[in-house]
Amino acid sequence: MTTLPSQPAPPDSDAPAKAAPRRNKWLNKSKTYVFLYALLLPTLLSMGVFGYYPKVDVLFKSVYRWTPGSILEYVGSKNYLDAFADPIFWQSFKVVAIMLVANLFKMWPGIIVAIALHRLLSDRWRYIYQVCFVIPMVVPMMVWLLVWKSFFDPDFGILNKLLNLTGVMPLLGWLDGTDASPGVMPQIATALQPALDNFFGPVFGGIWAMMLVGGICLTLMAQRMDHKQRWIGYGLVLLMAAIMPWLAVNALGGMAGGISSLVIFVGLMIAMARTLGSGWVIWPFLLLYGIWACHGEPLWRLPVMMGVAIGFSELVTAKTSRLIGPEILRWAGILLLVVGGLMVCFGSIWTEPTNQFTGGRPAWLGNQDLILPALILWGFPWVGTVGVLIYLAGLQQISTDVYEAAQLDGVGPIGKLFKIELPLIMTQVRINLIMMTIGTLTGYEFYFILLGPDGGPGNVGMVPGLYMFKSAFIDMRYGYACALGMVLFVVILLLTIVYQKYVKVDK
């Protein structure tokens, strides 16, 4: 029998082993290791050849102007500089960010359905429902896409018929209106405009900057730091808040500044995580968001806003008890985020009539204002089979003791959802979150089939994955597509780090 190194040797074999020469022992140990590694070799080789080599090759090719079979010319960082200066690429990130946020909400129906299934008392019925959820998996994705595309057909599609039949279409028409007679939503946006221009703009530097303050309050509430080292962290953050926008805009020009900011961003994240604990990993993201939120504002705006938020949080923490302080921060943060969210929803999105609903035949995939809503609506009611099964697997791990204890404590069905089930399936939520993020950021087939390679009218459906595909397979700029892929890889990696840190089971 081969003895694994981590296993203790049997007591009766101890004495001869001690007597054996040290060299033989080393050789035996080495043989074991060699044998184990030999067993792993085929898998490692396969992974290396088919898994890692193409990815490393992408990194290598991203510094080349490359057309397979004809051109391979070293261009250094040019592809990256092009990517950072490419308005379509950045526009595509805006689109994918919206889809990412929408997909976060679209995860909920799956969770709710899984919990409902889990709570079914009859095993037989649970099994039947599980089978019902698995059946759609056999429908090919392409068919699914085309079926939904036909749903969106303005004249023959089910969606418009359903909206007309249920009376939702006139409601949408009432909300939207026409250029001649704007509906409720554009009117609300017009009414909010003075508040946005005269209050939120001058005071906070805009709605998005106000939401940054809310985010900082919530972060400091969650981190509850009281060690002295935090002042170093604050100092670093404020210093970077002053330097990075300046670098990006003024000092080195748009592209070089952008790259410098990215390098500083990554460096800052690593430095903070190493010196001040992994909780600081969120700060570079807040900083990045702040740069975007304060884009177009004076350079002092970002450090001042962040300084005010940090100062307010420290003041609250210093002047109140450990119980009340976090609650004040929590509610202040939530208030700012909710007000900001409402202002964005009502004051910044539906600002002009789309002129699509009053005729009763909105062109969901043919109008630039409706493409994103259509993409978000796609797949309603958003109960993904794989997601439900993963959540269900997690729910089935929860011991019945926990439920019994909750029952004794008088916890109701809603309480069980938020206090037992949701916290205990966070591992599964994280898996789905990571899969969803990667899928959203890299996916292109969906957009390609529905909107074509240019992302539809006004390129509004152009996402990074589609742009990468188009650059490679239509424009034949393979090297550039590799560079886009590397940028995408970094973004996904950073988001995954955040998920790993913040989305987990609270033991």
């Binding site: 040019k78 109008n367 006004g458």
Partner: protein, 636 residues
């Protein structure tokens, strides 16, 4: 020594891995995943295409069956099979399989959107050139294969002339400029796109027009069709004249754009009167919107093209368009350009709402269900449109089944008949009609090349049989029958299409198809993407022309991705071309010196000429300095 039982597992694992590796590598290098020789020794030739139209697949299968049944083919145990791939993913399939060495023996070649890997010099790495094969006669055009009673002169040309010259376009479609050779064989001819229209709906529209014209006073919608320039904005399309009234009273199809738009308005009236809110004049879609843009670009902007034709050829490229724009040789404010966009917008108003979200299939469905008066497409859709709309002729092979009834249509009994379909060309604005003053000549079909081109994969283990099949497919008898079944146009000289396809026979009159402003050329890369995105927004009416111009100007002036970048990218491409041509000259020189190959000297001359035409990749820089003598050429 005691045998370690765990070694069995390791041996099995390593063995399995090595066998898998060997299989993958051997298949990739010897056969290719899609091109295979069966274990029983059968040589299987795979032919990959994206023509999913039923007529084409059926016709191709007939040819393959006939070929597979030939005695010498059976004796060699060869079988040809077709592999049809959806058009939208064809480029990806071709690119991936070509690069990985698993491309089928025969692959269809199209434009860059159907596989950029098959364009330019790169094609030589994955596909074989025809070399001298095109100069030899096609063996399947030998007298014994030709039908009786064929014109002797034609028969002689087919039997004894070079294979290349037996095809209408002389294989020009497959000539690769950078490599001075032919890399594919065209098998069909499709001409230019046309308008298919519903005879019944047109008759109804004409009746509505007649009634409206004869009313007193005429209804407002009819009055609005009369061209009026008195207000701030032009309205209407035609001038009220005796000729117009005569046409309205006749059964003639519209010969001018103004009259076509009158029919469109009448169809809206038909929809209103019949309460059919799904009926639209033109079944437009994201597939066909650019067809109208293409067909009208030459007549409207040929006058601008003269100003930006730097290299004095018959094709205005993206770089010429943008250099001309930067040099202020033309602008988006030119009246001809404004009129062109105005015309396109008026045409797109006749499309269904949200046409940009509709695809080709949705548009076809609308037309064949008589919910649209017209549809624009090419000969490749003729068979499916004819069959779906007109039904099929009842014959012994296609008898009436229980429950089916026959309708007499054009003298023959048809089953599943819905309405008659006719084909017309894109009409130009007539005299005394709106936009007529900006029109030069329509686009000519003289440059139309063959389609359905097939390339032979370099990795094919049966290249000689692949070539043999292409010769069979392009032989006179087979090609005529193949294209008649597919309802396309034969590529072989002397081959006649079905009578209903005669409108697709090329008309050589007019200007070159390249004589137009073309900022959306594929050369323009990133800028093209933005242009197309906003162009579609304009066509759908989401933005007006001023907004379109503002957005495109903003995109074109972008430091890194704008018009100047287009010039730099094109210069790089030209430099690549020159390099490949010079490499080719070196190879041909060696062939001439060492092997005394007869064709080498000619190719050296051709190569030198091409290199000279590109002025050693300084041509574009030269044009730049013509426009901006004191400014350096853009560098990135």
């Amino acid at each position: 020594m005691k045998f370690n039982m765990n070694l069995i597992g390791l041996i099995l694992l390593l063995g399995g891995f090595l066998i898998s590796l060997f299989t993958v590598v051997s298949r990739s290098f010897e056969e290719g995943a899609l091109s295979q020789n069966n274990a029983d020794g059968k040589k299987v030739i795979q032919l990959m295409h994206w023509q999913l139209e039923p007529g084409y697949r059926e016709a191709m299968q007939n040819v393959m069956d006939a070929y597979n049944a030939l005695p010498h083919v059976q004796e060699a145990n060869v079988e040809v099979r077709q592999l049809d791939i959806t058009e939208r993913v064809y480029a990806q399939v071709l690119n991936v399989h070509a690069v990985s060495g698993t491309a089928p023996d025969l692959c269809e070649r199209g434009g860059a959107d159907k596989g950029a890997i098959a364009q330019g010099a790169g094609i030589a790495k994955y596909f074989d050139s025809l070399g001298d094969e095109g100069l030899l006669p096609n063996p399947y055009n030998a007298p014994e294969y030709l039908p009786d009673g064929l014109d002797p002169e034609l028969a002689d040309a087919l039997s004894n002339g070079p294979w290349r010259d037996t095809l209408i376009d002389g294989m020009q479609a497959s000539y690769v400029f950078e490599l001075q050779d032919f890399y594919a064989v065209p098998t069909s001819f499709v001409g230019s796109v046309k308008i298919f229209y519903n005879e019944n709906l047109f008759a109804q529209a004409k009746a509505v027009l007649r009634k409206a014209m004869q009313q007193s006073p005429q209804p407002q919608w009819y009055q609005d069709l009369i061209w009026d320039t008195s207000g701030n904005q032009e309205t209407g399309y035609v001038t009220d004249s005796p000729e117009l009234r005569e046409w309205v009273l006749s059964d003639k199809e519209p010969e001018t754009l103004g009259r076509l738009l009158m029919i469109c308005e009448a169809l809206w009236q038909v929809a209103e009167q019949t309460g059919n809110d799904q009926l639209v004049p033109i079944s437009g879609s994201s597939y066909s919107d650019l067809m109208f843009a293409e067909r009208y670009s030459v007549p409207f902007t040929a006058s601008l093209a003269e100003k930006m034709n730097y290299d004095l050829d018959n094709w205005i490229s993206g770089s010429e368009s943008w250099l001309g724009w930067l040099g202020k040789r033309w602008s988006f404010e030119d009246p001809a350009h404004v009129a062109y966009f105005d015309c396109l917008r008026e045409i797109c108003k006749q499309f269904p709402p949200g046409f940009l979200g509709l695809d080709r299939e949705q548009a076809r469905r609308r037309f064949v269900t008589a919910q649209a008066g017209m549809i624009s497409t090419g000969a490749w859709d003729a068979k499916s449109l004819f069959e779906a709309a007109q039904g099929t002729v009842v014959t012994e092979d296609n008898p009436l089944r229980p429950g089916e009834t026959a309708v007499d249509f054009r003298g023959k009994p048809h089953k599943n008949h819905r309405f008659g379909v006719k084909i017309m060309d894109f009409p130009m604005p007539g005299p005394n009609e709106r936009w007529h003053d900006y029109i030069t000549y329509p686009a000519s079909d003289a440059q139309a090349n063959g389609s359905g081109q097939y390339m032979i994969s370099q990795r094919s283990p049966n290249k000689e049989w692949a070539l043999d099949f292409l010769q069979f497919l392009t032989s006179y008898t087979v090609n005529v029958e193949f294209n008649r079944t597919a309802e396309w146009l034969p590529i072989v000289i002397g081959g006649q299409p079905k009578p209903e396809l005669s409108p697709f026979i090329p008309k050589p009159e007019g200007f070159s198809t390249g004589d137009r402003a073309y900022p959306q050329d594929g050369q323009a890369g990133n800028l093209r993407t933005r242009y197309i995105g906003q162009f579609k927004n304009f066509l759908s009416g989401d933005i007006d022309y001023d907004e379109f111009v503002r957005l495109i100007r903003e995109a074109a002036m972008d430091d890194r991705t704008g018009a100047e970048r287009v010039l730099f990218d094109v210069w790089q491409q030209q430099r690549d071309q020159v390099r490949s041509v010079e490499a080719l000259i070196a190879v041909q020189s060696a062939r001439e010196l060492l092997q005394d190959q007869p064709d080498a000297s000619l190719k050296i001359i051709q190569g030198s000429r091409q290199s000279a035409m590109l002025m050693n990749a300084t041509r574009l820089r030269h044009y730049w300095h013509m426009e901006f003598p004191d400014e350096p050429f853009p560098e990135y």
